[in-house]
């Protein structure tokens, strides 16, 4: 009978449900996309490699990320710092400076704007990359500021198609560069597609392409996980000594291992997730008020029906029960629709992100589904009880005569 009453006013029931539908689907989407994003970030950072220690220029205030993350240019870190770390810490098995820029690159008639990555010999080891043909950048290239490049697999295809690229010459900023190697395809790492990058000796990029003396950041690989903390401390001491800093709070650099970065990023995403869930919960409360509103209207509209039922022997609890079943039906149907929309949207997101080549988990936990249904039923009960008890108190004589 309750379902029948809902059907009798389809449009109104639907509009009433809308608040709950939006609320529930938002919660599902936020939880699922949040979990997916978390998995993406974790996987991306893991794909950078393990046992890595990064050195970023600029100091972070407390627990936040260093200023360099926000695009602030800080010039305190140099390639000499990298050389010092390389020679003074024996636990470091590979090290590379990084300078990144975008420049138009031409080969014969082909012209593409490419991501130029200035790196050292250690990059290959740090990034777990492999050379498909030719060789990678060597320490001598860095010392001699050689005009050599190594191509990512995709950029190689763009410029040379299936033709052999080794030994060919490309132009960057009017200078000629010889292609000495091509890398194996690696995919997206830390949100960057390394297959589209052109690798150049870091010193060459500094002096001949960008015209700077500093580096973007330094990354090093440590021989053993147990030595990570030790290397971090060593690096800090070496850099403080070189930069003439005696107070750690005045550091103009930040040394961090990737595991710690992982932790802080995960913390950020999960707190963001709960914040968004809280906002979605507000829409559930608003939806609940809508339910109460509509139930109050329904109670008044059906005052005669209530009067009749009471005259025919319905007890207070029968009337309360009837209206509660009605409001809970509304919220439960809304929850099911909301879940379907939420799951569909989350699935779509996962599909699109995966299509773009990222590693994204499509996660719908049974807990979130049960929670959604539970919350909906609770909303139906909480916001339905007042209208229902109001209806149950109608005097049948008055209610029967009500026009």
């Amino acid at each position: 009978m309750s379902i029948k009453n809902l059907r009798a006013s389809k449009m109104r029931s639907f509009l009433t449900m809308l608040g709950i539908i939006i609320g529930i689907s938002s919660v599902i989407i936020v939880l699922s996309v949040g979990a997916g994003a978390e998995s993406l970030i974790v996987n991306q950072i893991r794909s950078v490699g393990s046992n890595l220690v990064g050195v970023l220029p600029g100091n972070s205030d407390g627990d936040g990320p260093p200023a360099a993350v926000f695009g602030v240019v800080i010039t305190t870190l140099t390639n000499d710092d990298k050389k010092a770390l390389e020679t003074q810490i024996p636990e470091v098995v590979a090290i590379s400076s990084y300078v990144t820029t975008m420049e138009p690159v031409t080969y014969q008639n082909q012209k593409v704007t490419a991501n130029i990555q200035g790196v050292s010999e250690g990059y290959l080891e740090i990034s777990d990359s492999d050379v498909a043909s030719g060789r990678f950048i060597l320490d001598e290239d860095e010392t001699l500021l050689s005009n050599v490049v190594v191509l990512g697999s995709e950029i190689k295809q763009e410029l040379f198609n299936d033709q052999d690229a080794i030994g060919q010459t490309i132009k960057i900023k009017k200078r000629n560069y010889r292609v000495v190697g091509v890398l194996e395809a690696k995919g997206v790492v830390a949100f960057q597609n390394t297959d589209k990058m052109i690798f150049v000796p870091v010193t060459t990029v500094q002096k001949k392409i960008v015209g700077i003396n500093h580096v973007g950041f330094i990354r090093m690989e440590v021989d053993d996980e147990d030595n990570m903390d030790y290397v971090v401390v060593q690096a800090q001491e070496i850099l403080r000594d070189r930069h003439n800093i005696d107070n750690p709070s005045k550091d103009d650099f930040e040394v961090a291992n990737t595991a710690a970065a992982l932790g802080s990023l995960t913390a950020v995403t999960s707190s963001l997730k709960y914040f968004l869930v809280a906002i979605a919960a507000i829409s559930l409360v608003v939806g609940g008020i809508g339910i109460m509103n509509i139930m109050l209207a329904a109670v008044t509209e059906r005052i005669q029906e209530v009067g009749l039922k009471k005259a025919l022997g319905a007890k207070k609890k029968d009337i309360i029960w009837q209206f509660l079943v009605e409001s809970v039906s509304i919220t439960l149907i809304a929850a099911v629709i909301g879940i379907l929309i939420g799951v569909a949207f989350s699935f779509l997101t996962a599909t699109i992100v995966r299509y773009l080549g990222y590693d994204w988990d499509f996660v719908i936990t049974p807990t979130s589904l049960l929670l959604s249904c539970g919350v909906s039923v609770a909303i139906g009960l909480i916001f339905g009880i007042y209208p229902a008890s109001k209806a149950s108190k109608f005097d049948p004589i008055v209610a029967l005569r009500y026009e």
Binding site: K4, L308, K309, L312, D318, I397, L400
Partner: protein, 241 residues
């Protein structure tokens, strides 16, 4: 005949924001099982209030009301609801059927609040619908029925819980005379089966179908006598209005 209803100095007052209106004054009479009683009176005479009290929709303000030898003064709301459900059938002037609901479901309504086992519902409902001659209308929606048919559905609904008493409040008030005749004949038929019927009306001719008439005026019983020239309307003949 055993006494079904015993009223002793029953009165009813209404309190509207401190203004007390006495609608019924010291009413005393008995109704026996199986009687067909008409309560007559003009509007404002208190007949509807009396019906509400007799039908357990309202409580008396003073005096005593014994139903089947039980004093109803101390009953809670839910106990009153239970008596209404199991002992009483109501027929209203404006039919009061649920809209957009089938004849079957309308008749089912009292059963939903009763202790009758669910597996008996279908038979009970179909019997009640058959008794008022609407079997072929079983699955019609209430708004697809004529006035007379609606009132017959209401009668079936009143009967479905096998009540000991039926209250009919101006049951023919919204019907043409021919249809009214059918309704009154139906009530007389039910009376013959031993059901007590209390008919509340302001129409002398309708009241004449009963076997006893209690006249009410300004909340007082002014006469209470057996009807000598009782009307028996042949089905379809119509009654004077």
């Amino acid at each position: 005949m055993p006494k079904l209803i015993e009223l002793k100095d029953l009165c009813k007052e209404f309190n509207n924001d401190g203004v007390v209106t006495k609608v019924l004054h010291s009413i005393s009479f008995n109704i026996e099982q199986g009687e067909f009683v008409a309560i007559m009176g003009r509007s404002g005479s208190g007949k509807s209030t009396l019906m509400n009290v007799l039908g357990f929709l309202d409580k008396p303000s003073c005096g005593e009301y014994h139903f089947k030898n039980k004093n109803i003064k101390d009953l809670e709301d839910d106990e009153m609801a239970e008596i209404r459900n199991s002992q009483v059938g109501f027929i209203f002037q404006s039919f009061n059927l649920l809209p957009r609901t089938t004849v079957f479901e309308n008749v089912q309504l009292p059963l939903m609040y009763s202790t009758v086992p669910v597996n008996e519902h279908k038979k009970r409902i179909e019997d009640a619908i058959a008794l008022v001659g609407l079997s072929e209308r079983r699955d019609y929606l209430s708004n697809q029925l004529s006035g007379g048919e609606k009132q017959r559905v209401a009668i079936a609904r009143a009967l479905v819980n096998k009540p000991s008493i039926i209250f009919a409040d101006e049951p023919t008030g919204n019907l043409d005379s021919k249809t009214a005749g059918i309704i009154m004949t139906t009530l007389q038929k039910l009376d013959k089966q031993g059901i007590t019927i209390i008919l509340v009306t302001h129409e002398e001719d309708t009241a004449q179908h009963a076997e006893r008439m209690i006249k009410l005026q300004d909340g007082v019983v002014v006469s209470d006598e057996k009807i000598t020239n009782r009307i028996y309307t042949d089905e379809g003949a119509g009654i004077k209005k």
